[in-house]
Amino acid sequence: MLSIKNLHASVEDKAILKGLDLEVKAGEVHAIMGPNGSGKSTLGNVLAGRDAYEVTEGEVLLDGIDLLELSPEDRAREGVFLAFQYPVEIPGVSNINFLKTALNEIRAYKGLPPVEAREFLNKVKEKQQLVEFDAKLANRSLNEGFSGGEKKRNEILQLAMLEPKLAILDETDSGLDIDALRIVARGVNQLRTENNAFVVITHYQRLLEYIVPDFVHVLYNGRIVRSGTKELALELEEKGYDWIKETVGA
């Protein structure tokens, strides 16, 4: 589904990603781990199309489509979803109106008619239950006044509503207590199908106890330096990132 080859990207002329390769197939969950500054969040932002990140080399294909040629909105419409590490508060834009606009623009891109009002509200209700997110969304502004946990749950709610092919979770576990973490993970697990895929970016192994990955990759200095199964995450947890730095450096 996702094929990244020799990806180089920089921010303000500083090279961050230096030849990253990654293959993700439908139905798979990949974890990307790595020390601070290794390029984890850059990967998520480059895939979603954030302006400040410049791709200098390499290619990213989603089911054969060149993602790097597309605007952020078209990437989303093609099925890319980035769950933000720091979701933005937007006062004055209602949660419900935002979800509806997003859903309908994605539907329009696929040649589908706008969603019926009742059908939409039922879907929101159903998905809210899925992520155990009972906040009253109707009259509240997007993420405004939400706690850290509520913001992350709202990200997963959006994920559930928009049903992307490829979801990238950027340190979704950061700032979450263990209960919130479990709820978010359960939501993600229920959304897993054989047709979609997840890339879970995390610093800690903790999240991977709840979202069990098929593959674990270690990102260091802008490249994937080691790949393995979920046992690699445990080994990392035990030995620490210094172990990676030493072995790669050597």
């Binding site: 979603a48 909105e73 989303a76 937007i90 004055g92 623009e105 959006q158």
Partner: protein, 442 residues
Amino acid sequence: MLDEVATGTMITQTSDSLYTQLVKTAGERLSSGTSGSLGEIRKQALERFKATGFPTVKNEDWKYTNVQPLVNRAYALEAEELSGGAAWEKARIPELDAHRVVLVNGQYSSELSSVEAIAGLQVMPIEQAFERLCFAKYFTAFADKTDNPFVALNTASFTSGLFIEVGKNTQLQKPIHVIHVAASASPLFSQPRNLYVMGAFAEAEIIESFVTDDAAERSLSSHVTEIMVRENAKLQHYYLQVAGEQSSYINHTEVHQEKHSLYNNYNCSFPGAAFVRNNINVRLGDSEVESHLYGIALTADNQLVDNHTIVDHMKPHCESYEWYKNITQDTSTAVFNGKIFVRLDAQKTNAFQQNNNMLIGEKSAVYTKPQLEIFADDVKCSHGCTIGQFDNEALFYLRSRGISEAQARVLLIHAFAFDVTSRFANDTVRQYVEHLVEEGLQ
């Protein structure tokens, strides 16, 4: 080559003096025709105007709004009618059921107007209202106390305009939609004069739209509107500025409120008219008065929109609430000057003012100045002002969910304008304005 340019400029200057033209015409008219107290008022006004002339940028009230290039051009004082006259339809507000009053180049058009006969409601050209009791009582009673030279000039030389009287205890079911059409085949300087009187316990809604006929030449309109809101009366008053680029406006609105009255002004400007100056002065002339001033200016191209407001608390226990939002695109300029007076007598005043600005065009400009002059000692007054730009983080967040950049901008602008648009008393007008906001964004 240089010589030609110089000669050209010379000719323009000599043939051009609007000032001379106006003073001469008004002087002749006043010495020949009008007699009695009205004539006297107008003669005095002409003298006041002659003493000051048109303001320059040296005058603090006109610092960012230079009228000199406008008044130094050539204009006719009489309109050259365009055929057709369907331009008023540009002001149509979808689903609005209203009495319609159309003024073409400041002249009341009975053909295009459609006002149902209602007991207690008087709508007529102002030139037919001179004999009315409340005209004598309120005409020039307040506006001419200000030092705005355009008011003095208008008083001295207006020839047309609109008179509305909503009688005591009359509550209008439908709004009155006043449509000002600029439609002259040659450059025109016009000075409509309006007087609206709300009798005791009267309630009404007046919606004013400004539009331009596509075939119109450039024009400068200097409107003066005096509004009397008597005891316990309520007036909802909308200004919807949707005129074309060739039209420029200098509008002065003077409101005087009596005890227990309510006056709400919603002042909206959209891309189009090259030059718009609004003076909106509200005098809270007795106790227990409430006034709300809301404004939204969405500007584009090289437009200038300047809103100068005065909220004058003269008596105790009154409340005023003012919120203006400016969104500037391209190389446009928005000016907001909000003055609040709290006079010595006006104890227990509650006055609020807020101005938020969003600069979208990198070369656009905003000048904003809150001014509070407080002479009473037991009052609650607050004011605030912000200047910002598009939040790129918010834009990216919305786009990353599949929302187009254009739609994301619309969402963010609606969110920015929401504090103002959500206060509109009339839902139909609110929807219309939200639509104009969407249309006005590039």
